[in-house]
Symmetry: C2
Subunit: 143 residues, 2 copies
């Protein structure tokens, strides 16, 4: 079981990549803060100040301007997330995010998958608004 | 089986309502065009010029600034969609969209529900960007 979500963003892949890895940018479209720059092998703490929540991710792979792979949590046990940046000419990108390792036997699997899909579509649309227009649309989806 | 999606938008419910029913506004956040103003009992043609696609909706209920109910297609056979606008003070709204009547016996029910969730989250985030900042984020989700 996995979820894949893809978005076209009219910005170069390098800008999209930086938006994820640079802790000064993540608050424009996703979490409120990221503890440090995303690099391979690091465990990063992500905070949602609005919900008084925080969690960790473990980054297992970084290919500059191309790919970011992490697991939710501080090790490789959590679901795996792969962010792939595809260059479309000089200033367009297609961002593909897949999350895998959902438990098919979970009796709530449909609602787990739907909540997960909701989160990724929302984040990617916020990312598009942030990078293309400098607007901040985050923290307004009500669950 | 149903999908519910909720978004906070910092605009009065009257502006959110108009964005849906006024055919000159829908192109800012959802379809490329709407054949006429949405009113109870009407069948409206919605077009996606980008995908050379069009479809109809049958509007069964309109409560000014509060509620819009329609079915996909020209009669009541298609899935039912209910848009509820909740006023939060003078200039904030919570928009709740539910779609129901999915076929539980469909062997592809999970992917049908996920695609449907994707569409609603994307549209509502585009609506937020359009109403709050005047930006157009539509037609960039890749399926």
């Amino acid at each position: 079981m996995f979820n894949i979500t893809k978005m076209k963003i009219d910005k170069p892949v390098s800008e999209v990549f930086e938006a994820f890895v640079d802790p000064s940018r993540i608050g424009g479209f996703w979490f409120s803060s990221s503890s440090e720059r995303w690099e391979e092998g690091k465990v990063i703490t992500l905070r949602y100040d609005e919900y008084e929540a925080q969690g960790e991710i473990y980054i297992t792979k970084i290919d500059l301007n191309k790919k970011i792979v992490f697991h939710w949590g501080a090790n490789e046990e959590g679901n795996k997330v792969t962010i792939i940046l595809n260059e479309q000419g000089a200033s367009k990108s297609i961002i593909e995010i897949s999350e895998e390792d959902f438990n098919e036997n979970d009796e709530n699997i449909i609602s787990v998958m739907l909540d997960n899909k909701e989160g990724w579509v929302y984040m990617l649309t916020c990312l598009k608004g942030y990078l293309e227009y400098g607007v901040n649309l985050r923290a307004s989806l009500i669950h």
